[in-house]
């Protein structure tokens, strides 16, 4: 019972991450009609925004220590962060401790700029090209982005701890009166809430603002909206920026769970595409639904009881579900007919 409850929590948490990535992907597809294989790389860049902020906060000057020595037996050159010099150790310590949540601010700005630049500089020229070309050019871009990151940050994962106050695990069982064995990491609970809020905000934005209405209308029938004299182009650019920002903050917030490395985007890419396709290309609700569904299924498939009956099921469950859904529901869970079938 506890085990099942925990697996549901796991599934929601995973699903939150999948849904956040898939949301941007499907938004871009639905509005711009572009299949963006660089979306995983945007997730990765977001994660590296957190790393970068941490490094920025740690910019240091060197001070030769009088007492200590380094591994070669020479006087140790200490690195003293400017931050500590200027604001004192307490403020500096606080900022460093909270660098991951703070990095959301950086990620939003940086990723929106990256997204807009990407749309203006590259994607724009690919609206009328076949999907295959879009896949290929964005795939190339993803390789370039990740190699640039590797050049500066190396190939190994870089740890990004969560703030101390939420570092441990919460006693979820005690809250619900289910005993002490139900514990779950604070940060994962936060991540789930965070993804729910972001998803909700994106939906609210598209539902209740004029901008969102135009975008939704554009998703539905691009030419007509264009004929109304509305500059749909500029709005789509902003939509791309929005999608990039969502991917970026999803990545930044994910760093305490998964220490970021340059290749994490590619690791998530295939998965997020499967989520989008299962949900139905271009369907926002479908992406969120499929994200949570696949997250939960994946968690359950990993349970020993199930693995002992179907060995290796946890390795293929995502793909298996994708195959079954696509063969029974031609356009995924919530896809519209005629989308992406050419």
């Amino acid at each position: 019972m506890d085990a099942i409850f925990l697996q549901i929590l796991n599934g929601l948490d995973k699903g939150g991450a999948y849904a956040l990535i898939a949301l941007g992907l499907t938004l871009v597809f639905g509005t711009l009609g572009v299949v963006n294989f660089a979306h995983g790389a945007l997730f990765m860049l977001g994660a590296f925004c957190a790393v970068t902020l941490n490094r920025l906060l740690n910019i240091s000057f060197e001070r030769v220590s009088e007492t200590e020595t380094n591994f070669l037996g020479k006087p140790l050159v200490e690195q003293v962060p400017y931050l500590e010099q200027w604001f004192g150790p307490e403020v500096a310590g606080f900022l460093l401790d909270w660098s991951v949540p703070i990095s959301i601010l950086l990620a939003v700005v940086v990723m929106a700029i990256v997204g807009i630049a990407m749309e203006r500089g590259l994607i724009k020229h690919f609206y009328k090209r076949p999907h295959a070309d879009q896949i290929l050019v964005t795939f190339g871009l993803a390789i370039v982005l990740q190699e640039i990151v590797r050049h500066f940050f190396g190939a190994n994962p870089i740890p990004q701890p969560a703030p101390d106050i939420v570092a441990g695990a919460a006693n979820v069982g005690a809250w619900l009166g289910l005993g002490d064995n139900l514990i779950y990491p604070w940060w994962r609970l936060i991540y789930f809430l965070f993804s729910a809020v972001v998803i909700f905000a994106v939906f609210a934005f598209l539902q209740f603002t004029t901008f969102g209405m135009v975008v939704r209308a554009g998703m539905h029938d691009r030419e007509t909206v264009g004929l109304l004299g509305i500059n749909i182009q500029r709005r789509f650019t902003i939509v791309f920026g929005l999608a990039a920002a969502v991917a970026g903050i999803a990545g930044a917030m994910y760093t305490p769970i998964l220490p970021p490395d340059y290749h994490m985007g590619m690791d998530f890419l295939v998965l997020s595409f499967v989520v989008v396709v299962v949900g139905g290309m271009g369907s926002l609700g479908g992406a969120v639904l499929a994200g949570f569904l696949l997250g939960i299924l994946q968690s359950f498939a990993s349970m020993t009881a199930i693995k002992s009956i179907l060995p290796g099921i946890d390795q293929i469950i995502i793909y298996l579900v994708a195959v079954i859904v696509l063969l029974t529901l031609p356009r995924g869970l919530m896809g519209r007919p005629g989308v992406a079938e050419d």
Binding site: V35, L122, H125, K128, R129, P130, H131, A132, D133, I135, L136, V137, F139, G140, L141, A142, I143, V144, E147, I148, H151, M266, V270, F273, V274, V277, M281, P311, G312, Q315, I316, Y319, L320, A322, V323, L326, L327, P330, R331, A340, E341, D342
Partner: protein
């Protein structure tokens, strides 16, 4: 069958054969004339030619073709382990197994088109890869890869650790250590291995050329151009698509088999989606829908993987040694971004540039170049020239 080809096609075939067979000499100036790389040129050339029959002619983008490559190489190694070190049974078995596997996956995947088809093939390939790496280890030997081994001493040794080679044993073939694959006694490593692959590449090219010039090929092109119209023209498109899928899967199986023949080991990584992505890159780089393009793309990517990745800083310093010190350092520093460990960056950039500026791949580049040089000719004859890729990007 021989009437399929026109005179210019025969010319193309002969030139192609001549170029392939003389590679060991012509590749010398760029340091690529050694057996392994030449073998890889031929093998991945075959893989790309086969992929192009599906993608280039019908426009269906499969992200799972590496699975057939992997299945083909496993089948070949099993043939070595169970039957004989002769390569012919291995070839036949690989192509057959890959064909059956392709039929199963194609039959299901081709119920959908567009990106849904791509994701279905991707899903099947990833399932194959994940299972081959873990729970299918008794068949695939997992991470270590399936290898040819000495004849097993007792029946208790698992087959993946000790071989039986029924046919060879029955013929009384003596083995010292671990045997090498052969074609009736001719060892299939080194240059003989390359020539074997080269001959198969030429045959494969000939078949692809024939298909492309045949009624069947015309139907495939018509599917890419307008599948709906073709249906209302009385053509059942699905069997054509399945046939194309199976044929290209068999090419992949053949390529996989050759990988095992020239180097008797089969690993699961060959089936990973990035490996499928690689053949897409090769085809696009050279020019999808063209005949020569995919082979060219395969050669370029394999060259980059082997040679560009080995240009370390020492080599760069020598290459720029004519420059004065600081300038030399700058150039070396800059160049290391793109070669050696940075070769992936080069690949990504090259790829973007091709897709952005030359959607028809390098072959389109050559055509444009030729057009620029001979701008006087009439346009009609060129647009419909034999190797011209299907253009019209609407």
């Amino acid at each position: 069958m021989l009437r399929t080809l026109s005179r210019s096609d025969w010319l193309l075939l002969i030139v192609f054969a001549a170029v392939v067979l003389t590679l060991p000499w012509t590749m010398q100036p760029i340091g690529a004339a050694y057996p392994d790389l030449l073998q890889k040129f031929a093998i991945y050339g075959l893989f790309a030619i086969g992929f192009n029959i599906l993608f280039g002619l019908t426009g269906y983008l499969s992200f799972g073709h590496a699975a057939f490559l992997g299945v083909g190489s496993y089948a070949a190694v099993w043939s070595f382990k169970l039957l004989t070190m002769n390569v012919l049974p291995a070839l036949a078995l690989s192509v057959a197994v890959a064909g059956v596997f392709a039929f199963l996956i194609g039959y299901v995947s081709l119920r959908r088109s567009g990106i849904y088809f791509s994701i279905l093939t991707l899903a099947f390939a990833q399932m194959s890869y994940n299972l081959a790496y873990s729970v299918f280890t008794p068949i695939t030997n997992g991470e270590t890869g399936l290898q040819v081994r000495a004849i097993r001493a007792s029946a208790e040794t698992p087959l993946r650790d000790g071989d039986v080679r029924i046919i060879d044993q029955a013929l009384g073939v003596q083995e010292v250590g671990i045997p090498i694959s052969n074609l009736f006694g001719m060892k299939m490593s080194g240059y003989p291995g390359f020539y074997f692959c080269a001959v198969l590449l030429i045959i494969g090219f000939f078949i692809a050329l024939s298909i492309s010039r045949s009624n069947f090929g015309m139907m495939l092109k018509a599917i890419k151009s307008n599948q709906n119209r073709l249906k209302y023209t009385g053509v059942h498109t699905r069997p054509y698509l399945i046939a194309a899928f199976v044929i290209s899967g068999m090419y992949a199986g053949l390529a996989g088999s050759l990988l095992s023949i020239t180097d008797p080991i089969a690993g699961a990584e060959r089936m990973q989606w990035t490996a499928s992505g690689e053949v897409v890159l090769m085809t696009i780089l050279g020019g999808a829908g063209t005949l020569i393009g995919p082979v060219l793309g395969a050669g370029l990517i394999k060259y980059a993987e082997q040679k560009v990745s080995s240009w370390n800083e020492g080599i760069l310093h020598d290459a720029f040694s004519l420059l004065p010190g600081p300038v030399q350092d700058f150039f070396v520093e800059f160049a290391t971004l793109f070669v050696g460990e940075g070769w992936h960056l080069t690949l990504g950039l090259m790829f973007m540039i091709i897709v952005i500026f030359l959607p028809g791949g390098l072959m389109e580049g050559f055509r444009r170049l030729r057009r620029a040089l001979t701008s006087g000719r009439s346009s009609a004859s060129r647009t419909m020239s034999s190797t011209s890729p299907v253009q019209e990007r609407g």
